[in-house]
Symmetry: C2
Subunit: 140 residues, 2 copies
DNA sequence: CTTGACTTTGAAGTTGACTCCAAGGTTTAT
DNA sequence: ATAAACCTTGGAGTCAACTTCAAAGTCAAG
């Protein structure tokens, strides 16, 4: 069993964030000591990593909580998870395309601008950034 | 010249957001009418699109402002922009990898779970989400 | 057995990127 | 010439995801 500080170090996260996740219903400690210290099992480390990874992929904590809770409600059917997953997958694909377009342009520009001696007025990076086409969608 | 409402419609953004961008130094109107109405040139539409695209790629408004301001300061050298660009490009590449990993897993799971009839307890999506490996990094 | 590192709670504060509102002034269409 | 649709400012409110704080209890090392 891990105390909150150990879990925090294992997950590269703050203890406050862990307590916040608990308030938000994402990560409840397995038990508590007599004096009220939170105790987490090893699965908590995996769950923290899952939360972090899902966040990095653009899921909000509310969405992550939904997924985690769906698993616990044995009445719900896999279909619920499936449709959410498909929706998220489509959003993710759009974001990836957008980011790849930006990445390609940045690459080109880093090369174009390779000598680094041009004044900013003429910097091709900024000129080209304005030419990027994308869906204009926001991140979340 | 566009009034703020026209620009808002052209950029699929709210007038409040445009005024917010002005306060934040990202988009200043070209001029004002005698009665104080903001007037924007056509380049404002491109600038709005640039801001939106850069946001979609994970740049914060502060970073976008920096880039936009660098262009205006004729003393600064292209090198400044270049190093920022390289840094951003690396971050972007890491995010793309992370998102592609998630995307692949979601794809597999959507297929595995194709009939949608399993109860959530056995849903392979949730089981597999916990197995994902990534850098655990946050989005911004 | 004391010192220092750790933990608790609850509440308030922060940041980013807006959004909403009130109380007006301006333009445009009919 | 008047109603509808637009614009102005300043400030407050919102939301997510934390962080910081205060005041106090607990645990581990020497």
């Amino acid at each position: 069993m891990l105390t909150i500080g150990k879990l925090a170090r294992a997950g590269a996260i703050s203890t406050d964030a862990l307590r916040y996740y608990e308030r938000e219903g994402l990560l409840v400690p397995a038990s508590k000591t007599g004096s009220g210290y939170r105790l987490y099992g090893e699965d908590a480390v995996r769950r923290v990593r899952f939360i972090q990874h899902a966040q990095a992929c653009g899921f909000t904590l509310a969405e992550i909580r939904e997924l985690l809770h769906l698993r616990q409600s044995n009445s719900a059917c896999c279909n619920d998870v499936r449709s959410r997953t498909i929706e998220k997958k489509l959003q993710l694909a759009a974001k990836i395309r957008s980011m790849q377009a930006m990445s390609t342009v940045l690459d080109q520009l880093i090369n174009e601008c390779a000598d680094g001696t041009q004044p900013v007025d003429d910097c091709p990076i900024l000129a080209a950034l304005e030419r990027i086409e994308g869906d204009g969608g926001r991140m979340s």
